[in-house]
Each structure stands twice: as structure tokens, then as C-alpha cells.
Amino acid sequence: MIRLDRVSKRYRAGRSRTVVDLIASKLRRGDQHVYSASRGKVDANVWAMKDVSLDVTEGAGLGVIGSNGAGKTTLLKLVSRVTWPSSGRVQVAGRVVSLIELGAGFHPELTGRENIYLGGGLFGLPRREIDRRFDEIVQFAEVEALIDTPMKRYSSGLYARLGFSVAIYSNPDIVLVDEVLAVGDAAFRRRALESLRRLISEGKTVLFISHDMWNVRRLCNRILWMDGGSVRAYGPAAEIAERYMSEVNLRALGNQQNALQSHRGGTGEIRLTQLDIIDGGTGRTTDRIVEGGPLVVRAAYEAAARVPAPVFQIAIVDVDTGMIVASASSSAGDVPAIVDGHGVVDCVFESVPLRRRQFVLRMTITDSHQLVSYDVVTAGPRFAVVAAPAARAGDDDDEDGLVALPYRFEHRMTSVVR
């Protein structure tokens, strides 16, 4: 159980002060500013967390989301007692294990075996407890072959795996995970997530920071959304995730013009002037596509000179994984043999059988041999796939994967045991 009561955390901005600054500050005692000899009065306070109250019960998976600098890591550091609040109370019941960085306590010159004891010790685990769990730790990390090799010979993924394994087997009541599952291969990520889920079911508490909404949704029943050091929202995972996603989408939409300006490549004979996602039903610009519904990508271009037979290529990319889930490429008859001046190209997807996740468009205009790229937009507009308005009750998006293939289950009784 974790309880935060009106907790604030202030960092001083002008940390590396010189003696001159220090004397200047002392002369103005009680002033909340730092005086820099070169810059004069500097606001000293950076609030990493402001007036946060929170209750987390046992047996809960709490997802912590928010943009960079929202105070997520500060929260974890406060709960793990790495740092202390400037005001307010942080109360924790039970043993906390923080996975802010995997294998932080390891020493590369020591062997895997020695580091298990060192790392376990840092988590407050006595030797005989480590002895008892040793085999499990090694098995989980799959480092049997290298257990007596100095860890400097380990790959970074293996290093992280052993770090995770030691933490998870150190008998914690509360586990703090900060975006550490990004390392390691897919199989390990899955097992790590599984083990966290098991801890929750055993009545432990997991605080899980991640930008990957997919994993957050799979692990956590509640979500804490932090923004600028304060709690933006705290509630059931499905509800908060939905609100968060739609805001992220809105923000992305606001930046769309900018997005088109940046991440730009190509030789420039043709330039995209506008790239929009159109709702196939209403014909209006949108950032949401209904599951299985139509989608139109509208590209307006400007050709500075006569360009023969350009090819328009579109890729739909999963935001979380960067995986291309679908692509489309115009062929000879789709666009005129020579383009000149301004024009608009629509790419119509009759139906989009994608799961409810976020996607981003990537667009390239190349020559007919696809050797020269005229224009490349790597991060175009984003869109979210949302549930159809009349979705079946209980039709949750718990299912894995990126693509929703149409399916049905059929069952036949083949024999009956009496």
C-alpha cells in the first residue's frame, strides 16, 4: 500500500553555484531565488511534483503515464525513498524494489553469480534468501551458460534480464518499473510482463511507468495520468487510457503542420503541401477512424517542374512499435504521366481492420523506378482507431495484435464421455 499526502518535490535549478553566488544568496536570506554572478536573479525552483495525493492499494497494477517531465520518475523515486519530498508525506507499507534502471547495482568486473548476490543485497535480500532463489533467478534470466563469466562480457539485453530477474525474485511487496521493458527481446518482454502480472495476482503492488499504452492496458487496472508534476487524472485504466489517447491525438493534430515541416527528406521536385486523414463516411478531416471503417488519405502536392510519373507511397505505422502494418503504392494509371503545378491525390482504404491503437502515416513520393525520392514525410498525421459507436457490450479491446481479422469460432462435439 502506498499513500501520498499533499506531496511536493522541488529541485533547485541553479545547482552548480559558485562561491560568489553562494555569498550573494546568503546576503539575501529567505529569498526563494538563486543569484548567479553572471545571470543575476534566477528562479531557483523547479517543481517536479506539486501537491499530489494518492492512495494505491495492494494487489493493484497502477500504470503511470504522461509526457516527459510530468513527474512520473519523481513519483517512483519518492516511493522508493531514493529522494525525499520537499513537503507532504510519503507512506509506504512493505518492501519496495525499484526497477528504475535494470542492473544498476551490478559491477561489470564481477561474474553473474557474484552480481546476483550484490544486486540482491542492494534490494535488502540476505544471502541465504538469495541462495534459495538462486536457480530461479538464473533460469528466469536464461543466463545459465554465462553465470560464472564477468558481466562485462554480457550483452546489454542479458545484463538487463539478470537485473530484472534479481529484482523480481527479491520478494518485494511493491515493484516500481520505469520504462525498463524496452530492453530485451520480445520473448523476455512477454515473460517479464507475465511475471509482473503474477505478482499483482499474488497481492503485490506494481507501479508501471510506460509510454507503451498497450502494455499499460494489459498490466494495469488503474492509471495515474501525470501532467506537469500534478495528477491530471486517476481512475480505471480503460477510461483514463481513452482520455489520454484522445488528448495525445489532438495535440498531434495541432502539430500536424509542423510535423509536415520537420522529418522531411527528398530531392524536392514535388513537395507535399498538405497531408490529411479524411473520414470516409463524413468526408471531413479527422484523427479517429472507426474500427473496420473506411479511411481516406488525402495528399496535396506542388510540383516545381514537370515531373514524369511520380509514385505516391503510403505506410501506416504503429506508433508504439514503429511497425509498418499496411502500405499502399500508386501504380501507373493512378496519377497522370506528367504532373505539373498543384494537385490532390486520394488514397482510399475501403475498410481499416486495425485494432484500437495509434497509427502514424508515412508518405513518400518517388520516381517511377522508386530510385529517387522526391519527398519523404516520415512522421505525418496520426490517427487513432476507435470503437464503432454501436460496439457490442463487453467487446473489449483486450485482444493482442495490430490487425483485426474477421473471425468466428465454430464448435462441434466429436464424442461424449459417459
Binding site: 523515486k77 522508493s80 529522494t83 508525506r89 519496495v96 564477468p150 511487496d173
Partner: protein, 270 residues
């Protein structure tokens, strides 16, 4: 180990049991020693060579050129008897000062009693100390210096040495987190400190009014006590040792209190 099913809410980090504390200290010490001597051909040899080389230099400079005698014993063993505790102090404080910065990775990422880091620095130097101590026994045999009943004072001097060294390391390491100037200041101070400690010369050579100030240096009583118990085999100068013991106690307790009042800010400023 098995926490009660419903642990109570607490405002403080869960206490680390004495056993886990001790094991963590051992593990960090081991990590430190292994890190220092791995990929080094000579390994532990360096722990002996450092005081041995300085002994040779001192013998030449102070004994031959400076005409300082060992006060009745051969100068080399006289110097070595002072150099072994001195290097323990020097090396501990030197690496200890930067230790919290060196271990920033775990200081900013996990919770554990922070004083274990400077403690482990001092502990890791114990190995050097005992290696050099073994060399000292060799010298005793070579120079036919026998043990007397005053040898039991050596453990007392050792205890004071460890406490004083730990105290100084706690202060320099914790303040160094906030002001990195501490490290260069410590470097300079340690160079000077050697000469206000009766390591190259006997305390008896210092006459008032200077003697008063040298006696205020806690290391003076400690080094003199090591020598009187093992090199000369005679009663220590209780007056000087008393001053050392008193200062050591004050320094250690003050340092520990300072460290514990600062340690909650380490992760913020490191």
C-alpha cells in the same frame, strides 16, 4: 524476511536488517576490491609496494640526508610502521571522497543505507592494510624486532585508526556530493597532513611550541601508538593517545550525524 501480510504504512524506508546490512557491506567491499585489482598483473602486490617504495624514499631523504633517526630502531622499520597506517588513511579518504559520485548509479536508483558506500571504501583498504601488515612482520623478523606485552595496544590503535578514517571519509564524501571542490581540497590537505603527522619523523623530535599542534592531530597519537606497541615494544604516550581517542570519538560521531542529515539529498544533487 517474511514480512507480515499486511505491513503497516510507514514514513520511512523499511529497515535493513543487521544481517543484510553486513552482507551488503561485504559485497560492496568485494566489488571494490575486485574492481581495483582485476586486470592488474601485480594485484595485491601494489598494496605492499606503495608503502615499501615510500619507505625507501624516506630512508634516503630523512635518514641519510635529513639525519633523522629511528629513535633507537633501524629507520626503515620505523618509517614502515608509520607508513602502513598512513597509507590506509590516505587511500581510504582519497577514494572515499569520490565514492558517492562513483556509485551515483545506485545512489540515484535504489534505496539502501548510504553510509555503506564510504564504509565499503574503508573496508576495502583493510585488505591493503593487512597485506602491508604481513610485510611489516617480515621486516620485524629481518631487523630482529621482537614483540613485547605492549603489543596489545596495536589493536587499540587500529580501532582508533579505522574510526578516525571512517569519520573523515564520511565528511568528505558527503560534502563532496554538494561541492566538488572538496575533492581537490582533500588532495592538497592530505599531502600536507603527512608532514604534520609523525610518519617520517618521531614525535619526540618536535619541540614546543609546535609539538602542541602536532599532538592535536588525531593521527599523531594513532601512529605513535602503533610504533610504541610494535616497533619499540613500550608503553604508549597516554597523553597523546588520549587526545587522539577523544578527537576520534568526536569526529566519528559528528561525521555520522552530518552524513545522515545530508544523505536524503544525495540523489537530488548528485
Amino acid at each position: 524476511m517474511t514480512a507480515s501480510p499486511v505491513a503497516a504504512l510507514s514514513d520511512h524506508a523499511e529497515r535493513v536488517g543487521p544481517r543484510a546490512y553486513w552482507e551488503l557491506l561485504l559485497n560492496l567491499t568485494k566489488r571494490e576490491v575486485k574492481g581495483r585489482y582485476s586486470q592488474s598483473l601485480f594485484g595485491f602486490g601494489w598494496a605492499i609496494i606503495q608503502p615499501l617504495a615510500t619507505m625507501a624514499v624516506f630512508t634516503f631523504v630523512f635518514s641519510r640526508l635529513g639525519n633523522i633517526s629511528g629513535d633507537g630502531v633501524p629507520y626503515p622499520i620505523f618509517a614502515f610502521g608509520g607508513l602502513v597506517p598512513w597509507f590506509f588513511f590516505l587511500n581510504s579518504v582519497n577514494s572515499g571522497t569520490m565514492s558517492l559520485i562513483t556509485y551515483r548509479n545506485i545512489v540515484t536508483k535504489t534505496y539502501f543505507p548510504r553510509e555503506i558506500i564510504p564504509f565499503s571504501q574503508v573496508c576495502s583498504r583493510l585488505i591493503d592494510f593487512f597485506a602491508a601488515g604481513a610485510m611489516f612482520v617480515g621486516l620485524m623478523v629481518y631487523y630482529h624486532v621482537g614483540l613485547t606485552r605492549w603489543a596489545w595496544m596495536a589493536p587499540v590503535a587500529f580501532l582508533l585508526l579505522v574510526l578516525f578514517t571512517t569519520g573523515v571519509t564520511l565528511i568528505t564524501s558527503s560534502v563532496n556530493v554538494f561541492y566538488r571542490d572538496v575533492s581537490p581540497v582533500v588532495q592538497i590537505a592530505l599531502q600536507l597532513w603527512l608532514y604534520v603527522t609523525p610518519v617520517p619523523y618521531p614525535l619526540s623530535r618536535i619541540k614546543p611550541p609546535w609539538r602542541f599542534w602536532i599532538e592535536l592531530n588525531p593521527l599523531s597519537g594513532i601512529v605513535e601508538c602503533f610504533r610504541s606497541s610494535l616497533v619499540y615494544g613500550r608503553e604508549p604516550d597516554w597523553h597523546v593517545l588520549g587526545i587522539s581517542a577523544a578527537f576520534t570519538a568526536v569526529v566519528f560521531m559528528g561525521a555520522f550525524a552530518l552524513f545522515k542529515s545530508l544523505d536524503r539529498y544525495f540523489a537530488d544533487v548528485i
